[in-house]
């Protein structure tokens, strides 16, 4: 049943969509019926798959790079007070600037290739990863730190063996958010200037008023996003078996 639930939801939504098309009799280029989208999906599957591959690569590269960067930044901020004062404003600005405004500049600097899109994804992912991980590092149970202090622990060992693992649940939340928003960066980057990727495909189809194809691309993107999210979520659960989790039955 658990497995079928999303499928039922999916078909329910498709049925509602079909129903709206039927009763409003709307133009096909404004809202294509599901069947058109489906046939576009089948017809364009090779092209879509190629573009999806580009986008997926960008997302994954962005995730990996941003997670590494974010982790290192958060650790530095947690360990050095000075680093925090310097980095925190930059961090906030990185999130406050609209990606859409930055995209043309990044494309200008890094070219039409993958680099600019990965940079976009990194920019979007970096903040939630860094902010949540840093927050987790700051909120270590003071009792653990007291204990470590009476054990004459070395500061960087406390960071590595106490504060870091204690911050992992917070880090996991950040990574989940990051995974969910990661496609935005890649797609926006592709939209602004590229020769492949789902964003590029969307931009082209948009110019040609091929709405069914756009929906097909969005569908592929959704599948990528959902799959990626569940893979990351599952991985994080495996890495953090000690974390209380209501979704999994308590081990006895």
């Amino acid at each position: 049943m658990k497995f079928f639930r999303p499928i039922i939801t999916f078909f329910g939504l498709v049925a509602a969509w079909q129903f709206i098309v039927e009763i409003t009799n709307v133009q096909r280029f404004i809202l294509p019926p599901p069947i058109d989208v489906f046939s576009a999906l089948i017809d364009q599957r090779r092209i879509l798959l190629g573009h999806a591959g580009t986008t997926l690569t960008e997302i994954i590269l962005g995730l990996v790079i941003a997670t590494l960067l974010g982790t290192v930044t958060a650790l530095c901020m947690a360990q050095f007070r000075q680093a925090r004062n310097w980095v925190l404003p930059v961090l906030v600005v990185s999130q406050a600037l609209p990606v859409f405004a930055l995209a043309p500049i990044l494309v200008l600097w890094l070219g039409f290739g993958m680099a600019s899109k990965v940079a976009m994804a990194v920019l979007i992912i970096y903040f939630p990863v860094t902010a949540t991980f840093y927050d987790g590092l700051r909120r270590t149970n003071p009792g653990w730190l007291d204990l470590a202090a009476t054990m004459n622990a070395l500061p960087w060992r406390v960071l590595l063996h106490v504060r870091l693992p204690a911050a992992l649940p917070a880090f996991a939340s950040g990574l989940r958010v990051a995974t969910a928003v990661a496609p935005i960066g890649a797609i926006v980057g592709e939209w602004v200037g590229s020769s492949s990727g789902l964003g590029h495909y969307l931009w082209r189809m948009n110019g040609n008023a091929k709405t069914a194809e756009m929906f097909a691309a969005l569908f592929v993107l959704s599948v990528i996003a959902v799959t990626l999210y569940f893979i990351v979520d599952d991985l994080l659960r495996r890495i953090l078996p000690w974390q209380p989790d209501r979704d999994t039955p308590p081990s006895t």
């Binding site: 007291d146 204990l147 063996h161």
Partner: protein
Amino acid sequence: MPRYQQNIVSVIRHFPKFNPVRGLIQYDSRDVDIADGRLHSLPTHLGEPTWLRGPIPGRPLEPDPDNTGVGRRGVMCPSSVDKTNPHSDDSVVSGDIVVSRASLTYGATCLFENLDFIIESGCWTCILGPSGVGKTTLLRMIAGLAAIPAPGRIDWSGEQNFSQQVSYMAQDDLLMPWLTVAQNIGLGNKLRGKPVDHSNIEKMLGRIGLAGFGDRRPQSLSGGQRQRVALARTLMEDRAITLMDEPFSALDTITRGRLQELAVELLGGRTVLLVTHDPLEALRLGDKVHVMSGRPADISAPITPSGPAPRPVNDPEILHLQGELLGQLSAADQVITANENRPPSNWSNQ
């Protein structure tokens, strides 16, 4: 430890109640105030003491034999040496901890001021007091976890670095959920970057009655088992001094009793400071039981329950002392809560 500190220790040690010696004692041609057996002002410079060498003119330093409340402490700690001569200078046993002039102020509230206190080597010293009296902070000061405002200080007469001889146990077991039981027990060495002694951990698991639990995670253990693991982790540190802040208070009565017995068995011979709000626990375990009460708080002269710990809970002496302590605590509580409009308890009227 500075010389003068040792002599102060001698006075407090040998005249724990000091009733007949109210007034001044001359120290190195300076007047040192002694009231209720506590030195309220310390000499600020070092020098050869004069007042322990012989009788002080006009004031009896020798305890009054007719006064029952005065004299050397009646009961010796199991491992402390017999100090028969109150005039000897070497009465500070290596390992004693001397807290002098400790103060704690929260905003406008002074919790304690100029508090002097000794934790004897090889003894279980209990500080019993109502919540909020500052006993946990005092323990944290000794543990080096809280700053001790000047001119307060903590001196240790032991040879090694004090901070490397302290182990700490809190009410929360502080087990790390991502580590296994065995890894939690070996945490200290890991945090110090030293090799973890696996065979010793196995032995320790056996001693706390959790052999075979090494690979389990703390979440799968009961509260009592978790606190046992915390005890094992404390023992793995193998330190002369153990500071315990209500380590058993979150456990049910039966489990608590078992853990108290285990702690006495495993920590025997070490210097232990146990902070608790449970008079029975203090009397079961403590060689010296102090009551910390009042605002600003004072630490009473110790009660020394007889017999080896853990003492039976149905021992008439223990029960009697428990009643007495409850009375004291209740009276102290009424002082503190006088302005809070809380109805006073009537423990002492029973």
